[in-house]
Symmetry: C2
Subunit: 330 residues, 2 copies
């Protein structure tokens, strides 16, 4: 076993202890699995809460802080958090202005966030929900009816986080989140399988020299497998799938995301090919982010996410953010 | 081959094209392999230049920007850059206040930066040099006489970058850099071998279930191999080696660094164990940084770096920095 862990059962709790120790600006409830920005609730501000299975770090815990999420609830590895976590998170961050739940489209997450919404509302918290279903590779998948939610989540959380930080009311924050979700598209590629602590080895078999086009962030099957492709060929395949679906009429935000085990050196080279492929299809790129943001443990591979951006989107994207994984501005 | 590349010969050039496309705040000379902050030279400011083999990203290119490096020179993968790159970088960023070269202790890097210093001085640039040799695992190694330079480089570049940004003269910037180098110690552990593009596969053989304690960032041999160890046992081994050597009398800056392929979820769990191991040895931690900063392509594993910190060190560490990989502000 090539993992840096104590025992599989304690992986998530250990990571939360590490986050608590490294980030004094966060309050981490290791027992109940809730990560909250220390200054929450922020008076008058709509709060953003997200969560999902662990193994996709820095998503979501690394995005908690001013300008993005107010709280995150990590589940077990590749497993939805439970409604109790979400309700606790909502109660911890609600200032009275309401809470937006950002939900990736996986059946467990959707059901649990629905239940949490009902429970939180019974406790007097106003709740809105946005569903992220941006992965164009396949419709319906191992854990999903419809499209999977992947890299677009970063755009939804950043853009809605910025408008919430600026003092917008719940309806407006939810609207910005929904538009970001509607305008985002992702496509992922695996060059190797991830290994989960519970299994102690790869979750599927991908022979060396093969890659899987359209992979999900839990290793769900994609569109097809192929033999070796160059970085440029992969970029063309992914960009073609994205542009065909999104048909952007405005410049895009571009996320070139690593799945976990692909070196940053290779990701930047891939980013150059993605930009070339977009240029050839006359899609202008307004902003580019390259790095490991929505990962799948130690999966080798990458994903590309586009978000069609108007002037307001660019303003919200450029607005200051201060989280463990995403930080810029004054 | 499980790499996201076009052809091995073009990996570094492709990555530089990607950096140019993603970071308008940098000027990237893809042909001559120099990365420069766009506002350089900054009037009256001492400039910091570093460089080394590629494959350790975000080091060094990801650390170019206000508050840290003025320029970086990437060599081929795991190969020193050439003096010509360093001289060009120095000329591009020197405002007349002089240039500090930050050099990791590998024979090729040391010789090439020495030659570059002479050449730059002939062109009228005042040059100082600091050598980083922080890896306590072994003395003398595959590419090194003495100790290897690894994670401590991040502390040297951040602390010296902050004092340079504040307007200190060259002698003072060099002194801060040397003290940071003297007070830094690193220890690395491999759970798997990295694969280089040129080789197309692992650079050494590490049987599954074994790990190498004291690994270098190019896969140079460490102290010993062992069978499976828990995250806590690895933390104790690394921290013991570091504390025995450094014997810190003041709180430390702590870097819990990923080598490339180890998930952030595991790194945070390891960070909790490192903090526990330090606490048990009565070493106080003033600041903690967790992530992939000084990598070895897709090597699975981690390293721990400590830097003994006085009040001034903490002020310099907390000072604003704005680079691709390290960014915080007021």
């Amino acid at each position: 076993m090539r993992m840096l862990i104590n025992v599989p059962e304690r992986v998530v709790a250990d990571a939360l202890r590490g986050m608590a120790g490294a980030h004094p600006e966060l309050v981490v409830d290791v027992e109940r699995r809730v990560i909250v920005r220390r200054d929450a609730p922020v008076a008058g501000k709509v709060a953003l809460v997200s969560g999902g299975g662990s193994g996709h770090e820095p998503l979501h815990g690394g995005f908690v802080g001013p300008g993005m999420l107010d709280a995150a609830c990590p589940g077990e590895v590749f497993t939805s958090p439970v409604p109790d976590q979400m309700v606790r998170a909502a109660a911890a961050v609600d200032s009275g202005a309401g809470v937006l739940f950002v939900v990736k489209n996986y059946t467990g997450d959707v059901l649990n966030f629905e239940m949490a919404s009902e429970l939180a509302e019974e406790e007097g918290v106003r709740v809105a929900r946005v569903l992220v279903a941006d992965d164009v590779a396949v419709t319906d998948s191992t854990y999903t009816a419809g499209r999977r939610g992947t890299g677009g989540t970063l755009f939804v959380e950043k853009l809605a986080g910025a408008v919430a930080e600026a003092g917008a009311p719940l309806e407006r924050v939810a609207e910005v989140a929904r538009r970001a979700a509607e305008r985002s598209r992702s496509f992922g590629v695996a060059l190797g399988a991830p290994s989960t602590p519970a299994k102690g080895g790869p979750t599927f078999d991908l022979p060396a020299g093969q890659l899987e086009l359209g992979i999900g962030i839990h290793g769900e099957p994609g569109r097809e497998r192929r033999g070796s492709m160059t970085s440029g060929e992969i970029a063309d395949y992914a960009v073609e799938a994205l542009v065909e679906d999104l048909r952007p009429a405005a410049p895009v935000l571009l996320l070139v995301n690593g799945m976990g085990a692909t070196p940053l050196l290779e990701l930047y080279g891939f980013s150059a090919e993605v930009q070339r492929a977009l240029r050839e299809r006359r899609v202008a790129v307004a902003r580019t982010l390259v790095g490991n943001y929505v990962t799948s443990l130690d999966m080798a591979g990458c994903s590309v996410t586009l978000c069609e951006a108007d002037e307001e989107t660019l303003r919200l994207w450029d607005a200051p953010v201060s989280t463990a994984a995403l930080r810029w501005g004054r």
